[in-house]
Symmetry: D3
Subunit: 322 residues, 6 copies
């Protein structure tokens, strides 16, 4: 992810001192961007060929959840397929899904890996690989239900694949912490460790109800840079904001730093109103080593982008860590 690509970016607005700022043309993908869609949000983007490819959550007008491939030259203007991804068998024949949502994508070694929330008697983590974003090979679900927000590391750690995830229940889960699990083969998973838990209300209320991994971690000299979401339960429902953590490169179950303040919280109109008001939900981040572009779902309705300078952001995380 950190190879030099020409990532989409916009400089910090004049007068702003924020470490992360919104794209002035947000939302970059509207709710009706494909003919059948009710909403497009919580989607993943990765450098591909001479531009970018993505896997997008497009809920249709029956509010069925599915994931769609898309392509872009600049990371901002997207052609999203009108038909959802159809899976072929990867390391399993069981490739059924009641629904698919909240995809993440990363390149590992020789191919692209997609993870998503996969409906198999409840939400769990689906896995597939693709070489071309045309044919996708579905693998065994990583875990038993109930789980959400499965995010792969972009390289093996100590010789094994590593995945962040958030064990859940079968509804609008009112709790949730981030764990890491390892696999030798993308089929069997174990060595589960707790990575990050919710914070005490008094310490950092925006992430006191539940948290979940967001983007595929970005490798930096300081450690793995991970954007995640945190939730506070107000009297009028959940409010989702974005923070970031830096995990140890060798043992990413160790949190080195973690933002006490949020980086981005719902405040723009397209974040405050929509199918689910007050949601900022990061699912992907691009880095060229200097600049960072984050893709996030807004109000469970559209896709927005936010930007940061990587070193400045890392400094901010370290200086504002819990």
């Amino acid at each position: 992810m950190t190879k030099k690509v020409n990532i989409p970016f916009e400089e910090r607005p004049q007068g702003s001192t924020d470490v992360m700022w919104r794209y002035s043309q947000n939302p970059v993908i509207g709710r009706y961007a494909i003919p059948t869609s009710n909403s497009i949000f919580n989607s993943a983007v990765v450098p591909f060929e001479d531009g970018f490819a993505g896997v997008f959550r497009c809920d249709n007008k029956a509010v069925q959840m599915n994931i769609f491939a898309g392509f872009s030259k600049d990371g901002i203007n997207w052609d999203i397929n009108h038909e959802p991804i159809e899976m072929v068998a990867g390391n399993t024949d069981m490739i059924e899904s009641d629904y698919k949502y909240d995809p993440r994508v990363t390149w590992i070694e020789d191919r692209y890996w997609v993870t998503w929330c996969n409906g198999y008697h409840g939400p769990t983590i689906g896995i597939a690989y693709t070489f071309d974003f045309k044919t996708f090979h579905q693998c065994e679900n990583a875990f038993l239900p109930f789980n959400r927000n499965g995010v792969l590391f972009p390289e093996k750690i100590n010789g094994k694949y590593a995945m962040l995830s958030r064990p859940s229940d079968n509804g609008h889960t009112p709790f949730g912490d981030i764990y890491i699990s390892y696999s030798p083969d993308m089929k069997y998973w174990g060595e589960h460790r707790c990575v990050m838990k919710v914070t005490p209300f008094e310490l950092s209320a925006w992430q006191c109800t539940k948290i979940g991994a967001g983007s595929v971690p970005i490798k930096t000299e300081e450690g793995w840079l991970e954007f995640y979401h945190g939730v506070i339960n107000t009297c009028n429902g959940f409010r989702y904001s974005m923070g970031a953590a830096i995990l140890d490169l060798e043992d990413p179950s160790k949190v080195l730093y973690r933002t006490q303040p949020y980086l981005l919280a719902p405040a723009a109109p397209y974040e405050l109103a929509g199918d689910v008001p007050n949601v900022v939900f990061p699912c992907a981040a691009l880095s060229d080593g200097e600049k960072i572009a984050v893709y996030y779902g807004a109000a469970d309705t559209v896709v927005g982008m936010a930007f940061a300078y990587q070193q400045e952001l890392i400094d901010f995380i370290k200086e504002n860590s819990i």
Copy 2:
């Protein structure tokens, strides 16, 4: 309802392919349209004399719920009485109500019938008739509490009055299906049958939590055309959308077709924000046999309108049926 009247209508916007579209001048009735009102929504309209009459839910600034008569030449510009409807005895002397809300109106044989959610030790279905929208004769409540969304068919079926309704509980009911009941005399009701249930989440999530009848059914050659609302329970509350079904003419407990996608879901600003965000709630539909105009409550605050071409809509329902 299907007699040729000059119904309010606006052609489909250029570039739109939607089978149903919003009126460009929405909302047609604002929240403060009468001096005492906090909000006006979930209201019913019917052809009357050389124009239209309606029964409107106007919550006052004490947030007391009541129904008011109103009149219009064109179905769009309304004069709503400043005083609520006062009932006189119909087939009963018990005409008390703790509150009245969500009215529907239809002509049957020789008079107009109004049904509404009537507060009698909880919500149940109130019934009244009027010849002139001046004097209203209240009849026995159709059912025991707890019930909401009682909607009469515009003619007798097999010699009996027929009513759709949604059995409920005494709060913000988190379940609800549509039933039909019959009466020989608008006083005693029976032959209760289940008509439509909520859908599996995977199949059509916008209507997976509860559904309720909306408009008085429109008689067509294909069957009874019924607009209804469906609800999904998001982590930030209920979201109400509109769909449609076609019921068998002879036995309307049989659902012939029913939309898997919604027809209209909250997306306009006046639907996304208001006293109850994310509500589209149809209570009336006008048809001249070719065009259809639907009146719906938006965000429990104002009244909006949406339009369709009848045959195209029927085709859509049949092609997109569950």
Copy 3:
């Protein structure tokens, strides 16, 4: 019900001053009284031929709920059929049931009528008649779901059948009041009136959460004598006790008297422990005009009996009325 029959009875125990007392041989029907039963409780008894007949709730060992006919010479020793009642069509062809439980029985004019909680997309009130307790003719459900504890009066009132019932929700309903409804024909029901509501906690806590009609009312000079159950919600669940009310003969929606203290509350071992601890639930009462025998379900597991002197009981109700 008040004709002179030789009802089962046992005198008040020496030393007791209670107005109602338990049968010393309780429980009269054990949980395994028929080969398939897990529990037999909440059952109804009526004079029949030269003895008694009954309709019994026998949950089987799959914990499926159904009703069974039974016969007894003395009202205490019972032969309960090993097969549940199979219905034939009465005034309807819709005689399906997901489950049947909590029956009541009464004679009206020329036949025996049975009501019970009938599973039709949730609990509602099933109705059937029989002449011989062999063939049962099922009629239309009285009401839409959700309803429980439907109890018929033993004669028409003002020319109409009258039924008490308790509107409910679709689970372990945490509320419930008693209503009355009327029918000209046992098919269509209306004229619904609220009869009795739960009491304020401070006034009579045993009946502050929900109440429901129990026995078929007994006609007395003072009014209709009705045994009912009341529920308090303790920190360890619902506790069901028995009280009694006297309703106006002409207009039984008027409560003349109603016990502030309970008549019988869970205290015997077979009431305190069982499938649902702490339940006393009356479903039938026999009277010869002087003595009264009540049949009640105990701990949702077995059937118990309790006795009273009718005049003394009426005096007690009047003197201890709310």
Copy 4:
């Protein structure tokens, strides 16, 4: 409070007949008014020197709640300190707080008193005094947890300090009434009396779930004029509106008048959308004896102002009293 000060004010808009109206330049304080703030709302203002001082709830970007002093010449343009108030010992050494929010301020006799919701093993009422809005002396918490919305009267009553408050629980309390308590010394409190309870849903639904004192009461000839908030629990969460009551001058536990309609309910965009949608929450009121200016939190995000003519408002309250 009623001394002649030059309070901020704007005349009623042309065409409006509302007894209270919003400031045309709302919100007067934006969510990012100080560098660290996520939101500034539910704040208190009092005349101070030749202008005004205030105590402001500023949640920072970790969503930690704290109170900040601020100053203004005109009551509209504010300089809010960038650092929260640091307390010194008043009548106690226990001046710890897990959090501080929703301050109120009043002058009594010789100093300014601040009350707020103080985090001590849950929310309770914190008390402090200041002479200069620079040094604040924290006193004993008034009550055991759990309590919110503690509001002092601006003078002693019968020789004792008097405080309104709302006993709560430890979460998003779904109930709440207003009580009064007295203290001889701002350290020990007693003589607790219930003042106002929520209203029946049918009578005034906007205040049927919970109510809480808002502004420091204004002494008028008619009694203590108190702005308070009321809450209705919609299917999409709590909606907070503003009403007013007049309490007896001698015995303020007696409510003389209380508005059945609300005075101001969420309708402006900054009230409908924000961190908690649909909140109007008064915390302070200025009066010059003729005009009134109310400061209220909007959507738990910003501060708005609303105005009224005092005598007209009092007449309105008396004429529209429950």
Copy 5:
């Protein structure tokens, strides 16, 4: 309390090694010990004249809660008045109560003080004094609602009355910790401090949901010996057990020792079954300096006793402290 009285006692059963053991003749007071009672439990006992007096919670058969005086020569055989205590004005004229339950009694200086859970718009702590257990003078409620388990210390501490209590909510509170408050005059209360909180589930699960003070503290050289109840929330409801703590003599908000294991948990039949199964709830303790007798409510139905040797108990608490 620690003066030499001839307290009721029974030696430890042979073979037992328990530090606290049940009286072999339990329950000492049955549920029907007075004519009107449904249950007698959670009651308080104190040395009086040449024997003992007590204040008893007797719920009547309407399940109304009230407190009754009673007398005993030996502390085991009791004469409980058949009429509840009627209060006269103490330091207030407001002596109304919606209900009274769970009394405690202690001698301080010149009179006996009774505290109980007093119904005033919800549960709070009522206070009264008596010289003779015939005339009781009711004082101001100590706190705002909602509170339960108010227990006075038997002497002033630093010149002030001191009371333990447990802030609650208005239902079957699922949380609860023990606080202390002080009063110069039994009228105004303040200086509230948290004393003991629930334990982590892993550390001591029987007291992980809520705890509450039980007996009036016994003064010992080691500190104040306090019996309290702890609650675990099982899948079938709350289970109440008894533990003990030793509080600092000078500053009883400091817990010196506290039992990790319970001292007594529901295991006897009269503790396992009754109106509320699985409850052991201490409300009083007698000590002669060597032996201790505890009175506790069992299953919210009857009164039991348990015994211990004081020094052995103190050693046990110290050795098994958290």
Copy 6:
């Protein structure tokens, strides 16, 4: 497990026709069988040397949950160690546990394997092996939290270890189905498949809320014989009963037969009353090929035994299958 051992057994009582019957000397292990125990239940037994060994859940009097080894000559009279099992590192160094409960034990190939509910940031499945029931080697937890009732098959299936388990949430989970997972090495797990789900209420209510694997499956010619528990949610809490299923030998995710009626449900006094009333919870079964002995926890307090003839039981399951 099916090798010829002399298993504990008692013939069916005279007059009984039950396919499974209780041991007449139940409970076989009392709640205080070791000095520190509050309760001993939900425990596992396996043939060992010339008798039996077991792993027992003994909650101590702080209600801390832990597992203890025990030994018996006859399977009925047990010596349980007074100290809990202390783990040494198996295939991991992470051998911490917040608590351990509900063990199961089986022999696979060369050693005994123990699984249990292991507290690691919530309940998950712990694994250990032992050769001698003295030294236990703890391995990686099988799954992420939240999971309960992990039960190993007694031999590898298709070359892999196989485990049944029940994904849960972090409280008194109100749902739960049985899944199977596979592992090549007891460290990494995958190939998760749903095996059995709860039944519709109408079909078999005793298992309609949640189900969980009980005993280590017994290999028979008909398939794997598995005893499991099923739960119904009554208005007074969960009721746990025992049923049995036969799973396909080759692919145990296929259920061949499953009992519609329960085999054993709470009815004996020690099952109806205790720390958690109404619990029958099987955790182990011994078979000599002809006779079967099941060990089950009763009321979360003691251990009971029940017996069956294997072939008769299998015939019963096949004849009474859903």
